[in-house]
């Protein structure tokens, strides 16, 4: 597994959206009247969590829809973070924006605050699918947003796309990919649509009102994504993530997958400093109440035992095409990966789901399609 070292990552959650997308189960609310109260609570949390002693090499402001904030409010957050943590010019600073929410002016200001990476929630370049997903923008606004980011001087732009929608054809998805490639982002996240319980889409699915695309078609789309993006020069470095060469990978997201320490600020945000993981209340008022009385807004705090850490190591390692680094795996868990899991591995090699060399063990593209099952079986072998 690739080490991003012990540097800290910082995530700030902005829990506000114009309206809720139908598939979304991130924590966000639509009452913008609460923004300024939230920002003062956030200031308190930043102060309580301050770690000026640790170098932070990533800052990610996500949501929700951070670009709903006034640009000055975003600037303020950056100032507060800069005071409380140890950032420098090499820090990867990402801001998530949604099409239709930021002007070129705004984007120029973001750049002036120090952001060097913009991630845009495109989801689809097809207005019908955007409607189905309950997104607020249309395809035209997406193009405008990307162009605006470019003209504001952003070089490192990432786009989020979703595929595997009901009735979506291979051709439709291919079209989205080609449009994206033409816009030449440095980074692409392509997620399969998931039906999360309790979301409007999840409820429709459960009630049979929405018929998901068949697994066969989705699997084909996954393969096609790998092939098309690969040909266009994108490296498939994690199940759903692609970059124009390894230097444009999302440094921040890799912290999640490489078990590096990160601090999450804002409601529902997760933090990690192994063997500890903890997360904040997923509810703005509990979050603010805690901070008002001077407490950290922590909802749950876990200390992972060896087995739990091992489960995570397997799951996160195999999500990435770098795979599991055999040597550091041995050091971390005192386990010889190949020996310990040999009962299952042979079958994976035979099916061409997995490959191994002296250094790493990784899933093939075919293997990635069965990641859940593979992890399930490996976890069962742990005793």
């Amino acid at each position: 597994m690739q080490e991003t070292g012990s540097n800290l990552g910082i995530y700030v959650h902005i829990p506000f959206c114009e309206s809720k997308c139908r598939y979304c189960d991130f924590y966000s609310i639509t009452d913008k009247g609460l923004i300024s109260n939230y920002l003062s609570a956030l200031q308190t949390e930043i102060d309580l969590m301050a770690r000026p002693d640790l170098k932070s090499d990533t800052l990610y402001i996500g949501g929700g829809t951070p670009s709903l904030l006034h640009y000055k409010q975003i600037g303020q957050i950056v100032d507060q973070i800069t005071m409380a943590f140890n950032l420098d010019v090499t820090t990867e600073m990402t801001l998530e924006v949604n099409p239709g929410t930021s002007t070129v002016r705004d984007l120029q200001d973001y750049a002036a605050f120090g952001f060097n990476r913009i991630n845009i929630g495109i989801q689809s370049f097809n207005d019908d699918y955007l409607g189905f997903l309950g997104r607020q923008h249309n395809a035209k606004q997406s193009i405008v947003a990307i162009e605006a980011a470019v003209s504001a001087g952003f070089n490192n732009i990432g786009l989020d796309l979703i595929y595997g929608l009901p009735n979506q054809s291979q051709k439709d998805w291919k079209q989205d990919l080609l449009t994206a490639i033409k816009l030449a982002p440095k980074h692409l996240s392509c997620y399969m649509l998931t039906y999360e319980p309790h979301t409007p889409l999840g409820i429709d699915h459960e009630a049979g009102r929405v018929v998901p695309l068949s697994d066969i078609r989705i699997a084909d789309m996954f393969r096609m994504t790998h092939d098309i993006l690969g040909t266009a020069g994108y490296e498939h470095y994690e199940i759903s993530n692609f970059s124009r060469g390894s230097r444009w990978r999302s440094r921040h997201n890799q912290k999640y997958w490489n078990l590096s320490p990160y601090v999450g600020l804002g409601p529902s945000a997760h933090s990690c400093s192994l063997p500890r993981r903890w997360w904040n209340h997923r509810d703005l008022s509990s979050y603010m109440d805690a901070l008002k009385s001077g407490h950290l807004p922590i909802c749950e705090d876990e200390h992972l035992n060896q087995e739990q850490q091992l489960i995570e190591g397997l799951y996160l390692g195999l999500r990435q095409t770098d795979g599991i680094d055999l040597k550091s795996f041995q050091e971390r868990y005192q386990i010889d990966f190949q020996l310990y899991f040999s009962r299952a591995l042979d079958q994976y090699f035979a099916e061409n789901w997995m490959s191994i060399d002296e250094k790493n063990c990784r899933l093939t593209v075919e293997g990635m399609l069965f990641l859940d099952r593979i992890i399930d079986e490996l976890v069962e072998l742990i005793d």
Binding site: F26, Y191, I218, I239, S271
Partner: protein
């Protein structure tokens, strides 16, 4: 003896029986409010959730009446479901009267009726009590009219009460004294006492609940149970006063308990008569029946290692449940387990839930069956309740199945719906009669196998809760019996087999295949599910293989979510059974169990 009153409360679920009992107990000061647990009489989880009482909790209340005299009020609790009609009848046989409790906003409902008729059969004096008059929706006049028209009782004597607010409780207490007769008994005759319940105490053994009809009983007496002539030396007698309160002797008319070194409750039989060994009474109480199991099913531990734990759990359960019988059973698919007999399907469910909740056992239950009689070509007769023991069909001359006489009481507007339901269940309508101008009793003869699944639930549905149902087994009749097997990828899973009427096989097979399809997790290969009778496939379904199995989404920094899911699945796997290469979850076995409800 003039100062004793023995009575029960008859009520539909939720009409307030437990609340009223609590109020009456409070009215007598035997417990101070502070340490008074809510609804003491109803203390088992399962019963509470299902709103039924299975184990009677009797209480003897010392009460000083308005006339200045001191009384003993024995409130005898009764279970409330058809599986336990016999137990109810024994409890009522110990009473002189009953409170008929009716919710003022709901009115008279079905369940009340069967028990009311039982009470009338025992010539009990009935006091109607209209409860929940505090509710805005209370309609006292309507309920009074129902009491007159539907029940044929005098509504002028009905007491208006709110158990919740404590209204009318004093009137209820006084009416028990005034309206219910004291027991008529001869304290000097030889001992004759009726066992109406028993329960198990880990320190003292079986506690027998009884009513002394004649004579008296005290510690040191050598007693005899008249059904089996077993004798015991009485160690202690006493009254139920929330806690057991030992006393010197229990005399005619009184209700109490005894402890006599009886190891399990199975050694006592509800309805049996206790007498003195040295000086027995001439005839026992009438109406005694051996509780006979009518529904049979096998119970297996999910993990084979848990067999010994399950054995211990069943032994413990049996201590307190005389009606449960079991013996060792084995299955190719499930390993070692037990074949069990139950009084009815509810009893089965209660046992299953107690094993899971009280004893923390993960179990698989097979499809319940009745006892069939199989006559072979050589003329020999065999009782079969286990599909595994069903003989080779070519050797069978004839099969017989048990029939019941079902009595169903409903408002006459549901007659058509009940008729349809019973005919669907291969029932034969024998008779019907009007009990009142709008209430009708319908008599059917139905195969027992057709009512052990979900008949009672269905009846309640089609009669909107107004149907009451009671049954007794009458005889065995010739039947066309077949064994339905389930094959998974060609392999027969013996624990999924069931004995069914030939006309039902097709439908059951189809539903079983459909249900299993939804319960068996997909795998990398195709899974074929087939229903077969003999060598013939009568139904099939397929679980398609995976084409992908990946959660591509990642939830930001929330890594715990997926890890917790993996941990849960790992635990869940321990609850699966492998059949060949196919993993069968516990839910698959349950799904087949429920095949009788339409899909």
């Amino acid at each position: 003896m003039k100062e004793i009153r023995n009575f029960s409360i008859i009520a539909h679920i939720d009409h307030g029986k437990s609340t009223l009992s609590d109020r009456m107990i409070q009215a007598t000061d035997i417990v101070s409010d502070r340490n008074f647990q809510d609804q003491i009489l109803d203390n088992m989880d399962i019963e509470r959730e299902r709103g039924i009482t299975i184990k009677s909790q009797t209480v003897c209340l010392p009460y000083k009446a308005n006339n200045g005299k001191q009384y003993h009020l024995n409130l005898i609790d009764t279970p409330g479901h058809v599986d336990f009609t016999y137990e109810v009848s024994r409890a009522l046989a110990s009473c002189e009267g009953a409170l008929l409790l009716i919710d003022a906003s709901q009115g008279v409902e079905a369940q009340t009726l069967a028990n009311l008729f039982l009470a009338l059969e025992h010539d009990l004096e009935i006091i109607p009590v209209i409860n929940k008059i505090d509710l805005p929706s209370a309609d006292i006049e309507r309920v009074k009219k129902q009491i007159e028209d539907d029940l044929g009782l005098d509504s002028k004597s009905a007491i208006l009460a709110s158990a919740k607010e404590g209204i009318g409780i004093a009137e209820v207490m006084e009416a028990v004294i005034e309206k219910l007769p004291p027991p008529q008994a001869d304290p000097d005759a030889p001992l004759k006492a009726l066992i109406f319940d028993s329960h198990y105490d880990p320190f003292r053994g079986t506690i027998v609940h009884f009513r002394v009809i004649d004579g008296r009983i005290k510690a040191g007496d050598q007693i005899r149970f008249m059904s089996n002539n077993a004798t015991y030396k009485v160690e202690e007698v006493g009254l139920f006063q929330i806690v057991r309160n030992p006393s010197k002797e229990i005399t005619a008319g009184q209700v109490g308990y005894l402890i006599a070194g009886i190891k399990t409750v199975s050694d006592t039989r509800c309805g049996d008569t206790i007498t003195l060994d040295a000086k027995p009474c001439s005839v026992p109480m009438s109406g005694f029946k051996e509780a006979k199991p009518v529904v049979f099913a096998s119970i297996y531990p999910i993990a084979a290692d848990d067999y010994s734990e399950l054995t211990v759990a069943l032994e413990k359960l049996k201590l307190n449940d005389a009606s449960l019988i079991y013996e060792k059973d084995t299955s190719v698919a499930l390993g070692f387990g037990f074949r069990c007999g139950f009084l009815g399907l509810l009893h089965l469910e209660v046992v299953q839930e107690r094993l899971e909740r009280e004893f923390d056992q993960s179990i698989i239950l097979t499809v319940p069956s009745v006892q069939y009689k199989i006559i072979l070509n050589d003329g020999s007769e065999h009782i079969v309740d286990n599909p595994a023991l069903y003989p080779d069909p070519t050797t069978i001359e004839q099969s017989l199945e048990p029939f019941i006489k079902a009595s169903i009481i409903v408002p006459d507007k549901y007659m058509g719906a009940v008729m349809k339901l019973c005919l669907e269940r291969r029932g034969i309508n024998k008779n019907y009669q009007y009990l009142t101008s709008s209430r009708i009793e319908m008599i059917f003869e139905i195969p027992l196998s057709e009512v052990i699944y979900d008949f009672y639930d269905k009846l309640k549905t089609v009669t909107q809760g107004y149907g009451s149902f009671d049954y007794e087994i009458i005889d065995y009749r010739i039947s066309k019996l077949v064994k339905l097997d389930i094959l998974i990828n060609g392999e027969r899973v013996d624990a999924l087999s069931q004995l069914v009427h030939e006309d039902r096989a097709q439908q059951r097979g189809r539903i079983a295949c459909e249900r299993l399809k939804d319960e068996i997790p997909r795998q990398m290969f195709k899974i074929a599910i087939q229903g077969a009778v003999g060598g013939k496939i009568i139904s099939r379904s397929t679980v398609n293989p995976f084409r992908k199995d990946v959660t591509a989404k990642c939830y930001g920094g929330d890594i715990s979510r997926k890890r917790k899911l993996l941990e849960k699945q790992k635990k869940g796997k321990k609850r699966m059974k492998m059949v060949g290469k196919v993993m069968l979850p516990q839910s698959a076995f349950l799904a087949v169990l429920k095949t009788d409800s339409e899909s």
